[in-house]
C-alpha cells in the first residue's frame, strides 16, 4: 500500500498556508499529525496533489493560560495534553480522555486540532471540546473568527470550518474547584473506535449540579449533547429518581446510529448506562 505521488511543502507561516489553500483548494491537504491522513493516502483513498505540512507553525502550538482561558494550540499532540499540568488543573477531563485515543505511538504525533477538524463521530476530542465549552479560533484570509464547539460539528465529518480556513487552537474556560467530570468510553479493545462514549462535565454544589454538559460520541453522526437530560439535571439535587429521568431523557432524545458490530438499539441502551455511571461518579466526588 503506497500512496499516490504528491508534492510536499513545509509551511513556515499561517499566511503562507492560507495562500496555498486558496491557490490549490481541495487539491491540497493540510497535514498536522497525519495519523488519519497518511493511512488514507497509503490506501489511496485520497490522492491530493499537494501536502501542506503545518507542523512547524509555532503559532499553532503550546498550552498556556491566556486571560480567563486555557489556550490549547491546534498542533498540541494527544500526548502533550495527557501529560500537561495546566490541562490537568484547568480542563482535567481532557487528561482523562487522552489515554483512550489509539496508542502511545499515535498519540505522540496525532494532534488536538487535527482530531477536531476531522470531526470523526467516534473521536474523543470533539465531544470533550463541547463538554468543556471550548471556543474554536479559526483564521482565514478574511481574518480570525471564533466558533463555539457546540456549533462546530455540523454533520458527519463536517465542521463549521470553511474550506479556506485553518484552526489555530481553542480557548477553554478555566475549570474551577466546583467542576466535576466523568469521561466514559466503551471500546471492544483499548484504543479502538468507541462503541459508545460520554464526556460529562458539570458544576457541583452539594448535591446540586449546574452548567451540565453530557456529550456523547460514537453514537451518532456527530458528537451529540443530551440537551434535555442536561436541563433536567441542571440546578436540581441529584438523586436516584433524577438520574433515572435523565437516563430516560437521553435515550429518548438521541437518535443513535448503528456501526459495523453494534446496533442502534445497543447504542441507545449504552447511552443510558454511560450517563447513569457518569452521574453517579460525579455525585460521589
Amino acid at each position: 500500500m503506497k500512496a499516490a505521488a504528491f508534492d510536499y511543502i513545509k509551511a513556515q507561516s499561517v499566511p503562507e498556508v492560507l495562500a496555498l489553500m486558496s491557490e490549490h483548494g481541495d487539491d491540497a491537504r493540510l497535514m498536522a499529525g497525519g495519523q488519519t491522513l497518511l493511512a488514507t493516502l497509503n490506501m489511496r483513498l485520497s490522492e491530493p496533489q499537494l501536502l501542506i505540512d503545518i507542523t512547524e507553525l509555532t503559532e499553532l502550538k503550546g498550552i498556556e493560560i491566556i486571560g480567563e482561558h486555557l489556550w490549547v494550540g491546534a498542533l498540541v499532540t494527544h500526548t502533550e495534553i495527557e501529560n500537561a499540568a495546566l490541562v490537568k488543573k484547568y480542563a482535567p477531563i481532557l487528561c482523562a480522555a487522552a489515554p483512550h485515543i489509539a496508542h502511545r505511538a499515535i498519540r505522540n504525533l496525532g494532534t488536538w486540532g487535527g482530531s477536531l477538524v476531522y470531526g470523526d463521530p467516534a473521536a474523543e476530542w470533539p465531544a470533550c471540546s463541547i463538554a468543556v465549552n471550548a471556543t474554536m479560533v479559526v483564521r482565514g484570509l478574511q481574518g480570525e473568527r471564533r466558533i463555539l464547539a457546540s456549533d462546530f460539528f455540523v454533520d458527519l465529518y463536517t465542521t463549521a470550518l470553511a474550506p479556506d480556513e485553518i484552526l489555530m487552537g481553542t480557548e477553554i474556560p478555566l475549570a474551577n474547584a466546583k467542576q466535576v467530570f466523568s469521561f466514559q468510553e466503551l471500546a471492544r479493545r483499548h484504543g479502538d473506535y468507541a462503541v459508545a462514549g460520554l464526556a460529562a462535565v458539570a458544576k457541583k454544589t452539594g448535591q446540586v449540579f449546574s452548567d451540565c454538559h453530557f456529550v456523547f460520541f460514537s453514537v451518532a453522526t456527530t458528537p451529540v449533547a443530551a440537551v434535555q437530560a442536561q436541563s433536567l439535571v441542571n440546578d436540581q439535587a441529584v438523586n436516584a429518581e433524577l438520574i433515572a429521568a435523565a437516563v430516560a431523557a437521553a435515550r429518548a432524545e438521541i437518535e443513535t446510529m448503528e456501526d459495523i458490530t453494534n446496533s442502534a438499539a445497543a447504542k441507545s441502551h449504552l447511552v443510558g448506562v454511560l450517563l447513569e455511571r457518569a452521574l453517579k461518579k460525579m455525585l460521589a466526588e
Partner: protein, 798 residues
C-alpha cells in the same frame, strides 16, 4: 521407570546419557538476532533487476470478466509487464484440490489468474509488474476491467437450495463434500436418556492475520532453467513439488528457500493462486519478482476458516453418565477447495473430534461442506478442533446443568479413564495414551477450584457476575501418512535430519521441518546437543532449504517436535556412534571402553578426557592417512522418521477460563485462564508454555473478537486491521500453564505436538465461562464471536 508425580505428571527418564538440555527451559539462542532487527524475512531481500508485482483482484464476489484494458498501465514509467489469466495459463496448469480418501469430494479447476470468471472478492485477475512497488500500484489504478456481476452464493444456509445459482455448473450442485457417521444406537440412547440437551452453535469466519503478510520472491534462471523461490512458507518441499508439477519443471530444478517467517499458523501452508502467478511472472520475464501481500489484500486473499453452523445434542443418564452425542455440521469453504490440502479437512475433523475426551459409545454426525462466493477457507491453527471442542464442551455443560452436577465433577466422571488406553473414541479415532483424569485433577488444584466457586458465589450476591468455564480437549498431532499421503496429496508425513561433525568439533544439523517462531530450531539444538554430546553453543541448525535439508513435510498438524525432533534425535545418535568409532580407530581402543561427554571422548575406566571433538574433526577430515586402511566412517549421517504406529498421536489437556460479565454493557472481562497440557515429553517447558499461551489467545480471538463480516452481496465489510479485531495485550488475561507428561511410545523422544491445543480449547472455555456467568438469568450465548451486542440481546436489554 517413569515415576508418576501428580502435579508435574510423569518425571521422565532421560532420553540421552548426560542429558543437559532436553526438558529444560533453554532460551532460543538463534532468535537473539530477531530482537536486534537482524532477521531476514522475505521482504528484507533485494535482488538486482527485481520486479515488484501487485494484483488486480476481483472487487466483487462473482463476476464475468468481459475485457481487460491495460494499455494505459503498460505505458507508465517503470512498468515491466501486465499479465492476465490467459497468458499465465500458457505456462501454469490449473489444479483441482481433492483428496481421494474423502469419498465423493469435488471441486473445480482453478487458475493462477482468473480466466472468464472470478469467484470471490480478492481473487487475482491481472498481474502488474513494475520496478518499484509504488510504480506497480500507480499502474494498477490504470487497469480497467470490464466485468459483469454474476449472482453470488453468500449464505451457506441456502447454498444447497434449488433456487440458489450454481457456482460451478459442471459440478451439478454447490456441495463439495458430505459425510455421515453413525456409531452404536444413537436413537435408542436418546430415547432411553434421562437427560437430553441440545443447542445450535454459530462460528464466525476467521482469518490468520500473520503479522508478516504472505510474501515470496521468485527467480527463474533462463540459462539453466532453475527456479529459486524465497518464500514465507511452512512446507518448502511441498511447494517445490507443486511448482515443478504446475510449471512442468524437473523437481531437481526447483529450489525453495524459507528464511525467517513472520508467523504462519496454517496461513502459509497452502498454495495460493498468486504464489503460482508470481513464479509464472519470474519465468515469463526472466527476472526476480517480489510479491508482498499488503494488509488489505491479505484479508481477502489469505485463507479464511471456521465458518460453521453446528446443531448438537447430548444424552445422559440421571446418574450423570454421557450416553451419546449427535451433531449436524454445515460449513462453507468459498468457491474452490484450497490447493493441495483441500478445504474438506476442517469439517471432517469436526466429525472425528466431537465427544473426543469422553467414554460414550454412541455417536452420530452429519457433515455438509458447501461452496460459496467468499474467500476460500482451509486448514488454520487447530483445524476443526476449536469447533468440535466448543460444541462438545458446551453440550457437556448443558447436560451437567440439567443434572445439577458440578461441570468439573461431571467431566471427571465421563472422561476416558487414564488406565483405559490404548482405545478408540466413539468416532473411531485411535488413542495411544491420554491423561484426562490427571489433567482434571491438576487444573482443579491450579485454580483452587473450590475457593473460586466460593468467590463467585460471594460476588454474585453483590451483583458481580463472574463465570468459570472448562474445556477438556484432545488434539491431533504427529500425523502419519493417513492425513494426506493416502489421499494422493504429495505432502510428506516423514521427515529427515542430517547431523554433521564439522572439523572444529561443531555440530551442524539440517532438518526438513522449519522455524516460524515456535522454537523448533531451539528444541532441535537441545536434542542434538544432548544426543551428540556437545554444548548447545556448538550446535548449528539449518532449516527451510530444499537444496540442503533432507526431504520432509514441514510444519503442520503439530508435527515439528514429535516428527522432526525424533529425526534429529536419530541422526544425532548415529553421529555420536560414528564419532566414537572414529575415536576408537584414532586411539586404537575398543569403542566399548569409550564414551562421549561434552565434546570430549572419555575413557570409561579412568573418567579422563582422552580426545576432543576438534581433534576427531581434524583427523577425520584432514588426516585420514593416519587411519587404518580398512577403516571407514562418516562424520555426516542422515536419518528419517515417520510415525507409523497410529494414524495420529493424540494429545490431551484441559483449560479453564474465569470471566466477569458486565450486565449493563454486555462487556466481558477475561480475568484469568488456566491450561494443563499433556504433549508427552516436554522438550522445553518455556517454549511449550508460550505455544500454549499464544494458541489460547488466538482461540480467544475467535471466541470474542474476530469475524470476517460480509454483506448480502458477498463483500467483506471489515477487511482491515482497525475493524477486524485481533486480540491485543490489554484485553488478554494472564495464562497459567501446567504440564502432564505422558510420552508416546511411538518414538524414543516420546514427544507429542503442543502448538494447537490452546486454540482448540480456549473458545469452549471462554464461552462456557460467559454462560456460567449468565446462569442466574437463564440465558445463553452460543454464537461466536460473543460480542456485547449478543450478550445484551440474550439478556433482553435490547
Amino acid at each position: 521407570m517413569n515415576k508418576p508425580n501428580d502435579l508435574a505428571g510423569l518425571v521422565l527418564d532421560p532420553v540421552t546419557a548426560d542429558q543437559r538440555y532436553i526438558g529444560e527451559s533453554e532460551p532460543r539462542h538463534s532468535a537473539k538476532r530477531l530482537l536486534e532487527g537482524q532477521g531476514t524475512y522475505v521482504d528484507d531481500l533485494q535482488f538486482p533487476r527485481m520486479g515488484h508485482v501487485v494484483y488486480w483482484r476481483s472487487p466483487v464476489a462473482h463476476m464475468r470478466i468481459i475485457q481487460i484494458h491495460s494499455a494505459a498501465a503498460r505505458n507508465l514509467p517503470g512498468v515491466l509487464a501486465v499479465v492476465d489469466g490467459v497468458q499465465m495459463a500458457t505456462i501454469c496448469k490449473p489444479w483441482v484440490a481433492t483428496l481421494s480418501h474423502l469419498a465423493g469430494m469435488k471441486s473445480a479447476p482453478q487458475h493462477a489468474l482468473a480466466i472468464e470468471r472470478a469467484c470471490w472478492q480478492g481473487e487475482p485477475v491481472v498481474a502488474v509488474v513494475a520496478e518499484s512497488r509504488a510504480q506497480a500500484e500507480d499502474a494498477l489504478q490504470l487497469i480497467e476491467v470490464e466485468w459483469e456481476e454474476l449472482p453470488a452464493v453468500v449464505s451457506m444456509l441456502t447454498a444447497l437450495d434449488p433456487a440458489t445459482p450454481l457456482i460451478h455448473p459442471e459440478l451439478g450442485d454447490n456441495l463439495c463434500f458430505t459425510r455421515s457417521l453413525n456409531v452404536g444406537e444413537v436413537d435408542a440412547q436418546f430415547a432411553a436418556a434421562d437427560v437430553i440437551a441440545e443447542a445450535t452453535f454459530g462460528f464466525g469466519r476467521h482469518t490468520g492475520v500473520t503479522l508478516e503478510p504472505r510474501c515470496q520472491i521468485a527467480d527463474y534462471n533462463p540459462g539453466d532453467h532453475r527456479l529459486t523461490v524465497y518464500h514465507s512458507q511452512q512446507a518448502p518441499h511441498m511447494m517445490q513439488d507443486l511448482y515443478c508439477r504446475q510449471f512442468g519443471l524437473a523437481e531437481s530444478d526447483v529450489h525453495v528457500i524459507c528464511k525467517d517467517v513472520g508467523g504462519s499458523f496454517g496461513i502459509k501452508v497452502h498454495a495460493y493462486p498468486d504464489d503460482f502467478a508470481t513464479v509464472g511472472l519470474a519465468i515469463l520475464l526472466g527476472r526476480p519478482i517480489k510479491f508482498v501481500a499488503d494488509r488489505l489484500e491479505s484479508f481477502t486473499s489469505d485463507i479464511h476458516a471456521r465458518e460453521h453452523q453446528v446443531k448438537g445434542r447430548i444424552a445422559a443418564t440421571k446418574q450423570g453418565d454421557i450416553l451419546a452425542f449427535e451433531i449436524d455440521d454445515l460449513t462453507a469453504i468459498g468457491p474452490y477447495s484450497m490447493f493441495p490440502r483441500t478445504s474438506a479437512i476442517e469439517g471432517n475433523q469436526v466429525v472425528n473430534l466431537v465427544g473426543g475426551p469422553y467414554k460414550h459409545q454412541h455417536y452420530r454426525a452429519q457433515l455438509s461442506v458447501v461452496f460459496q462466493n467468499k474467500t476460500p477457507t482451509c486448514q488454520y491453527r487447530g483445524v476443526g478442533h476449536p469447533i468440535a471442542c466448543a460444541v462438545t464442551e458446551a453440550l457437556v455443560d448443558l447436560a451437567a446443568e440439567k443434572l445439577q452436577m458440578d461441570p468439573l465433577v461431571f467431566r471427571q466422571r465421563n472422561v476416558i479413564p487414564d488406565d483405559a488406553y490404548p482405545c478408540s473414541g466413539a468416532s473411531g479415532i485411535k488413542f495411544e495414551i491420554l491423561s484426562h483424569e490427571q489433567c482434571l485433577r491438576t487444573i482443579e488444584k491450579m485454580m483452587n477450584y473450590t475457593e473460586l466457586r466460593q468467590e463467585q458465589a460471594t460476588l454474585r450476591k453483590k451483583g458481580i457476575y463472574r463465570g468459570i468455564g472448562f474445556a477438556a480437549l484432545i488434539e491431533l498431532t504427529n500425523p502419519s501418512a493417513a492425513f494426506y499421503g493416502v489421499g494422493g496429496a504429495r505432502i510428506a508425513s516423514q521427515d529427515g535430519a542430517t547431523a554433521r561433525l564439522d572439523p572444529s568439533g561443531v555440530v551442524s544439523i539440517m532438518v526438513g521441518v522449519g522455524e516460524q517462531g515456535q522454537g523448533t530450531e531451539g528444541i532441535y539444538a537441545q536434542i542434538a546437543a544432548d544426543a551428540v554430546g556437545v554444548p548447545i553453543a556448538d550446535v548449528r541448525i539449518i532449516t527451510g532449504d530444499t537444496a540442503v535439508t533432507p526431504y520432509g513435510g514441514g510444519t503442520w498438524a503439530s508435527r515439528g517436535a514429535g516428527i522432526g525432533g525424533e529425526a534429529v534425535l536419530l541422526a544425532a545418535q548415529a553421529l555420536q556412534e560414528n564419532i566414537l568409532r572414529l575415536a576408537g580407530a584414532i586411539l586404537q581402543r575398543d569403542t566399548a571402553e569409550l564414551l562421549v561427554r561434552r565434546s570430549q571422548i572419555i575413557d570409561k575406566a579412568t573418567g579422563q578426557a582422552v580426545l576432543p571433538f576438534s581433534e576427531i574433526g581434524r583427523i577425520g577430515y584432514f588426516r585420514t592417512d593416519t587411519l587404518p586402511n580398512d577403516f571407514k566412517v562418516d562424520l555426516m549421517v542422515t536419518r528419517h522418521y515417520a510415525q507409523r504406529d497410529y494414524p495420529f498421536i493424540f494429545t490431551n489437556g484441559v483449560q479453564a477460563s474465569y470471566v466477569e460479565v458486565d450486565l449493563d454493557t454486555g462487556f466481558v472481562t477475561l480475568l484469568k485462564h488456566w491450561a494443563v497440557e499433556d504433549c508427552g515429553r516436554v522438550l522445553n517447558p518455556m517454549l511449550v508454555d508460550e505455544q500454549v499461551r499464544g494458541a489460547i489467545v488466538q482461540g480467544i480471538g475467535g471466541a470474542l473478537y474476530e469475524e470476517c463480516l460480509y454483506d448480502d452481496s458477498g463483500l467483506l465489510r471489515n477487511g482491515n486491521m482497525a475493524d477486524y479485531l485481533v486480540p491485543m495485550a490489554n484485553e488478554m488475561p494472564d495464562i497459567e500453564v501446567a504440564h502432564v507428561q505422558t510420552p508416546t511410545a511411538s518414538s524414543q523422544l516420546g514427544a507429542k505436538g503442543a502448538g494447537e491445543a490452546g486454540t482448540a480449547g480456549a473458545p469452549a472455555a471462554v464461552m462456557n465461562a460467559i454462560n456460567d456467568a449468565l446462569m442466574p438469568f437463564k440465558v445463553k450465548v452460543f454464537e461466536q464471536p460473543i460480542t456485547s451486542e449478543k450478550i445484551l440481546h440474550a439478556l433482553g436489554k435490547i
